[in-house]
């Protein structure tokens, strides 16, 4: 199976340098639809879906491999090798920030610059570190995923349409951008919200930009500051955007900050 098919890789634009955009927990590469086109004029852009999300090949989902962020980072390194990336720019949202950090450590020189959007090395509070969630909160989240939430409507839509030969009819109706296999969604939630990559931050040597939103309950300003303090020489930009997805709610601000950095 090709890596392109496995990770639903889409390459656009052209330029001497490459920007890889990685989506976070929840949706897929569509998260970057308001941001990545702005860079296609000067850069080659690579968008991809993590295995298990969006248009990736679900049959490539190996529970053991993807039980750690390191498994996802291996995929990113493979993508980098496939496209011969050197000194490229990685833009990762949410949990992909840490996936990018791990990939930069695994393959020195592949990514010269990291842009971390709403990063958190640990969502769970540990010792005197405040990640924002207690272990109980995260357990509650994982339990609630058993109730299926979006997975429910995603799973039901084709049946409701009653036309399995033409699944595209179903896609138009439902919340297709965030559709995923419920079991994989739960496993991804587990690895996302239980990982602890604080120690990895210290080893980052790539130029690093942290984009921090206001009122982000997933990754608070305190967490952003922790990442900024811990990654040597990193730069932090506090956006005016609120919430966890500035790539959707304030794409212009995100574009400007990235352009300024690269």
């Amino acid at each position: 199976m090709s890596i392109t098919a496995r990770n639903n890789i889409n390459i656009k634009g052209s330029g001497s340098r490459t920007i890889v955009f990685a989506h976070g927990f929840g949706c897929d590469q569509n998260m970057w639809r308001l941001v990545s086109p702005a860079f296609e004029g000067e850069f080659r852009t690579i968008l991809y879906d993590h295995v298990g999300a969006g248009g990736s090949d679900l049959s490539a989902y190996v529970p053991e491999k993807y039980a750690t962020l390191s498994g996802y980072a291996d995929d990113l390194v493979e993508i980098g090798e496939t496209f011969g990336l050197k000194n490229a720019i990685f833009v990762g949202h949410s949990v992909s920030s840490m996936i990018g950090v791990l990939a930069s450590l695994k393959a020195p020189g592949m990514f010269g610059s990291l842009v971390l959007v709403g990063p958190s090395p640990s969502y769970i509070n540990r010792d005197d570190y405040i990640g924002g969630f207690s272990r109980g909160d995260i357990e509650e989240l994982l339990e609630s995923l058993d109730d299926n939430y979006l997975g429910w409507s995603a799973a039901m839509a084709p049946a409701i349409i009653g036309n399995p030969d033409r699944p595209e009819l179903g896609e138009e109706l439902t919340n297709s951008f965030c559709r995923t296999d419920p079991d994989i969604a739960k496993a991804f939630a587990r690895v996302t919200f239980t990982s602890d990559n604080r120690a990895d931050l210290l080893n980052v040597t790539a130029r690093t930009l942290i984009l921090q939103c206001r009122e982000d309950i997933i990754a608070s300003e305190d967490v952003g500051n922790f990442v900024h303090r811990t990654i040597p020489g990193s730069r932090l930009v506090l956006l005016n955007a609120t919430g966890h997805c500035p790539n959707l709610s304030a794409p212009d601000e995100v574009i400007a900050a990235i352009r300024d950095f690269v």
Binding site: G24, F25, G26, C27, N30, M31, R33, S94, F133, D137, E140, L141, E143, S144, L145, D146, D147, N148, Y149, L150, W152, S153, L173, T174, N175, S176, F177, C178, F193, E215, D216, I217, I218, T242, G243, H244, C245, L248, S249
Partner: protein, 401 residues
């Protein structure tokens, strides 16, 4: 749109709609909230206006809102049937389904978001049941698969075992058939030369002979008789095993006694130095196969001569009484051991005896088969005084069912 009749109006339509209703400003903060929703969460309008939707949710709901709800709404401009849990002022949860739509300006900027919430406790319970049912089905399916696997393995092993056993059985059966056919042919072929020897001995008896010659001829006759008996037994046994059973030709036309006398005389001739006492009182006709009864008595008497004490007489008694025939053969000597008792009538069972007298071990087996064929029995009593085999049958012959 026609105005609603007083005291109602659009305000009432909004406030008391049968669903929760929220409008959000461009920054995602609550601008309007209807009375229905306020009632559900137990809050006042003042408490909620200016807040964000995640603040109405539990922790999981907040994460979900930020990672799914908000981005999805931004991307497609609407969302339908998103399951959320509202947190009430009492700390309880209220399951709802949310639909939302963004109102955008021409330049794409969001001006407002409308959110409606429908109670979904029943549906949530139903969904949980479905999830549980699916989990149960998956477990059952896994168990079934495991069971099928072991079942398959067990069947395979059983089939292999069975095939092996049947092959063995078949081979054994073939061997047994061959053996029995061989015995039948052998028995048949042995009879002819034996008949010649017997005829030759009778011819010789009519010649003038020395005393020693007469005695030797008598021994020869005895051996021929014994040999003939053995061959009969072998043939009957083989025939029985081949499915023919012991064939009987019964009638009550001739007296039985003469047959018995002939049998005793034959054996007496073969054992001239043994004493055989007879006592016959056959007053009723007996419906039987006389030659078979003769074979039975010959076998019993042959046994008595072989196993009994040489210095004690063998007693043959036969009488009829009240519709029953009883023939017994008794000898002295060592009683039959206990372990031998169990197998006396089994084919090829032989008691302990010296050298040349050794038989095939078919005599008692054939005798009991003949008794059975006549609807009769053979019983044994054996003690220090005597060993007595007693054959009993109804003089009316075998009862046909």
């Amino acid at each position: 749109m026609p105005p609603l009749p007083p005291p109602f109006g659009f305000e009432d339509l909004f406030d008391n709609a049968p669903c929760g209703y929220l409008t959000l400003g461009p920054d995602g903060r609550i601008e309007m909230v209807n009375a229905t929703l306020l009632g559900w969460v137990g809050r006042t309008r003042e408490e909620l206006v200016g807040r964000k939707v995640p603040e109405l949710l539990n922790v999981a709901g907040r994460i979900f809102y930020e990672t799914h709800f908000a981005p999805l709404l931004r991307m497609q401009g609407f969302l339908n049937e998103i399951a959320l849990d509202l947190k009430t002022s009492e700390g309880k949860r209220r399951a709802v389904l949310a639909n939302a739509v963004e109102r955008r300006q021409a330049d794409g900027r969001t001006v407002a978001t409308y959110v409606v919430l429908f109670p979904a406790s029943e549906r949530r319970r139903y969904e949980r049941d479905l999830v549980e049912a699916r989990a149960a089905a998956e477990r059952a399916s896994k168990e079934l698969a495991a069971f099928n696997k072991t079942l398959g393995e067990r069947i395979e092993a059983a089939v292999a075992e069975r095939v092996e056993a049947e092959a063995g059985l078949l081979a054994e059966r073939e061997t047994a058939e061959l053996r029995e056919q061989f015995i039948a042919v052998l028995g048949h072929d042995l009879r002819n030369p034996l008949a010649s020897i017997s005829a030759a001995a009778r011819v010789l008896l009519r010649e003038p002979l020395s005393e020693r010659g007469v005695r030797v001829l008598a021994l020869m006759q005895g051996s021929v008789t014994r040999m003939a008996g053995l061959i009969d037994n072998v043939l009957d046994f083989a025939r029985g095993r081949l499915g023919g059973g012991i064939g009987l030709v019964c009638d009550a036309d001739e007296p039985l006694e003469s047959v018995l006398i002939q049998v005793v005389d034959e054996l007496r001739a073969g054992a001239p130095d043994r004493l055989i006492n007879t006592e016959f009182s056959l007053t009723e006709p007996v419906f039987c196969d006389r030659s078979r009864i003769g074979q039975l008595v010959s076998n019993l008497l042959g046994n008595a001569l072989t196993y009994g004490a040489i210095d004690e007489p063998v007693r043959v008694q036969a009488f009829t009484e009240a519709g029953a025939l009883e023939i017994s053969v008794a000898n002295g000597g060592q009683p039959i051991s206990e372990e031998s008792f169990l197998n006396l009538f089994q084919p090829f069972f032989r008691g302990k005896v010296l050298g040349s007298q050794q038989g095939l071990g078919l005599g008692l087996h054939i005798a009991s088969e003949i008794a059975k064929a006549h609807g009769g029995t053979i019983s044994v009593v054996s003690d220090q005084i005597e060993t007595r085999f007693t054959f009993r049958m109804q003089t009316a012959g075998p009862q046909r069912s």
